[in-house]
């Protein structure tokens, strides 16, 4: 079975640890890289070509720009922006234009997003 490849780029260390704790032990998910440095994200995406990128939604105003840029360049990838303080995170994917969907900031919310890959790539 091909694993779901995830790059974890949450800058706040605690949220990164919690996301890794959530997905790190799942048999169908592979963490292909992690970084706290957002300047490295594009380079890592280019090199690792993950299925999913997980970033922090702690600066909501800059997220649409970053996600739009990345999805324009890597439309096959999907992005989950996890909010550390809210119960609602944002899922970004490309579908002619950029689509977003709110998902619950929870372990199940994150895993559901990652595992719904097949359904969501129907574009």
């Amino acid at each position: 079975m091909q694993k779901i490849r995830v790059l974890v780029a949450n800058r706040p260390r605690l949220m990164r640890d919690l996301v890794l704790a959530t997905i790190g032990e799942q048999p169908d998910i592979e963490v292909v890289g992690e970084t706290k440095d957002e300047a490295e994200i594009t380079e890592l995406v280019e090199r690792l070509r993950p299925d999913y990128l997980i970033v922090a939604l702690d600066e909501p105003e800059i997220r649409p720009g970053l996600c739009g840029f990345l999805l324009g360049r890597y439309p096959q990838m999907k992005i989950l922006a996890v909010a550390p303080e809210r119960n609602s995170s944002i899922f970004y994917w490309a579908f002619v234009d950029i689509r977003t969907k709110r998902v619950e900031t929870s372990e199940l919310g994150i895993l559901n997003v990652l595992r719904s890959k097949a359904e969501l790539v129907e574009i």
Binding site: L14, D58, E85
Partner: protein
């Protein structure tokens, strides 16, 4: 059945579900920590925490944002000996200082690792305080400010003088003798002397005129 008593019992109070779930998962892996409950904020949460009787409450900073509700002080009142560790989402001195004021003894930021959160739980359980270095300066400055304001604050609260003693010091300031004061207040002269003696002791003055000057300079009366 013997029950292990050396585990640190932790209750996780966080609005964010991921924080609750993943912290529970991570802390439960530690052999010396037992998560006895986890909850978001609700009107019943004090009861829930009280029933779980944790040693340590691990909370996100929403509890401070809700400080008007006095949640942390109420929980501390309900669970004697409870230590509170807070996860601050931002390194804001104001939030940090409000947390300390509410009785929080451990503070970690979202840039802390999960290991550091566990270490903070252990530290407060061992009667230590935990404070991020970036916020220590804010604490020192705050205390220094408090100190420099302390005499004023103290005097504004009348140095612990009773209403009668405050009344006396004002009458002394108007130049009345003990006998005159006794007459005006319908007290015996000895009672007035006793009041004056206690008042001098409280303000730390050597004589009645020094006490008047001290109280006047600090605005207890003009």
């Amino acid at each position: 059945m013997a029950v292990a008593t050396d585990n640190i019992c932790v209750f996780i109070l966080a609005e964010n579900r991921l924080l609750r779930e993943a912290l529970t998962r991570l802390l439960s892996k530690k052999s010396d920590i037992r998560v006895v409950g986890a909850s978001a904020f609700s009107p019943q949460v004090v009861e829930q925490i009280s029933a779980a009787a944790p040693d340590v409450l691990l909370s996100d900073s929403t509890a401070v944002a809700l400080s008007d509700l006095q949640l942390i002080p109420e929980v501390r009142g309900a669970v004697p000996g409870l230590k509170v560790v807070m996860i601050g989402m931002e390194a804001e001195p104001e939030t940090f200082l409000r947390a300390i004021h509410d009785g929080v003894v451990g503070y970690v930021l979202k840039d802390a690792s999960a290991m550091e959160v566990a270490a903070a739980v252990r530290s407060v359980a061992g009667d230590e305080a935990v404070c991020p270095p970036t916020l220590c300066l804010a604490l020192f400055r705050h205390l220094a400010t408090q100190r420099s304001q302390a005499p004023n604050f103290h005097f504004k609260h009348n140095l612990g003088l009773t209403r009668r003693e405050q009344q006396l010091v004002q009458m002394i300031g108007r130049g009345l003798t003990n006998k005159e004061i006794a007459s005006q207040l319908n007290l015996s002269e000895q009672t007035v002397k006793n009041h004056v003696h206690r008042m001098l002791h409280k303000v730390g003055a050597s004589d009645r005129l020094a006490a008047v000057e001290l109280c006047r300079s600090q605005g207890i009366f003009t």
